[in-house]
Symmetry: C2
Subunit: 128 residues, 2 copies
């Protein structure tokens, strides 16, 4: 994968008031951020750093374009309506190009990994 | 993995009013359901079949115990509060043992797959 030098990536998570929720997402995003130094995590709501905070910071660092990859299993109202509306506002506010990609859940590799994980969870939690 | 013959599995998804959302979850669950004939998908809200519908149906089919595996990326309020409260009610109502497992997002394999998927998404959506 090659990105232009002025392109950055935000891995978009929903956010939650639950204190352990953010730690799980940081762990989920860690290998991606290690592989992609231009990627950071941003939260739609209820957690910091917010999506807007990350857009403002990346713009200040020289980004002209940000690809926003939703760490969501599927597209619901948030990804079809709320997030696009937020992005249209931020594009004007921060004079930057924001591109929302498909969510990770629509990639066929995820279903295969879920099969492995479900098997592991059931094995580890089954009585001997 | 071996489950007792009277144990069944529900893959729990959140649910959404978005018509494409359910199709994505059915695709995400398909390899798991093919590997585990005792597994079905149930939705917490806004989609059918509901979690309660699946519990009632599996009980009627002879299940004494159901393991409920959340197809959630992390534990937020739903998995810490709402779902356990629902399950306590259903256990009494349907005279069945319901076990909520950890969500798929806490398994380390998911973070590695997300790295691959994020790379693929960015490659496929980058301009040539």
């Amino acid at each position: 994968m090659s990105l232009n030098s002025d392109t950055r990536v935000i891995l978009l998570a929903h956010g939650s008031s639950d204190p352990n929720w953010q730690a799980t997402f940081e762990a989920l995003a860690k290998p991606s951020c290690e592989a992609l130094p231009e990627a950071v995590v941003g939260y739609m709501e209820l957690c910091e750093p917010s999506l807007e905070h990350q857009i403002a910071r990346l713009k200040q660092d020289g980004a002209a374009r940000i690809k926003i990859v939703p760490l969501f299993l599927a597209q619901g109202r948030h990804l079809r309506e709320d997030v696009p509306a937020m992005l249209r506002g931020y594009e004007q506010q921060y004079d930057i190009v924001l591109e929302l990609t498909s969510p990770i859940g629509e990639h066929p590799a995820l279903a295969q990994t879920i099969r492995t994980i479900v098997g592991d969870i059931l094995s580890s939690e089954s009585p001997a």
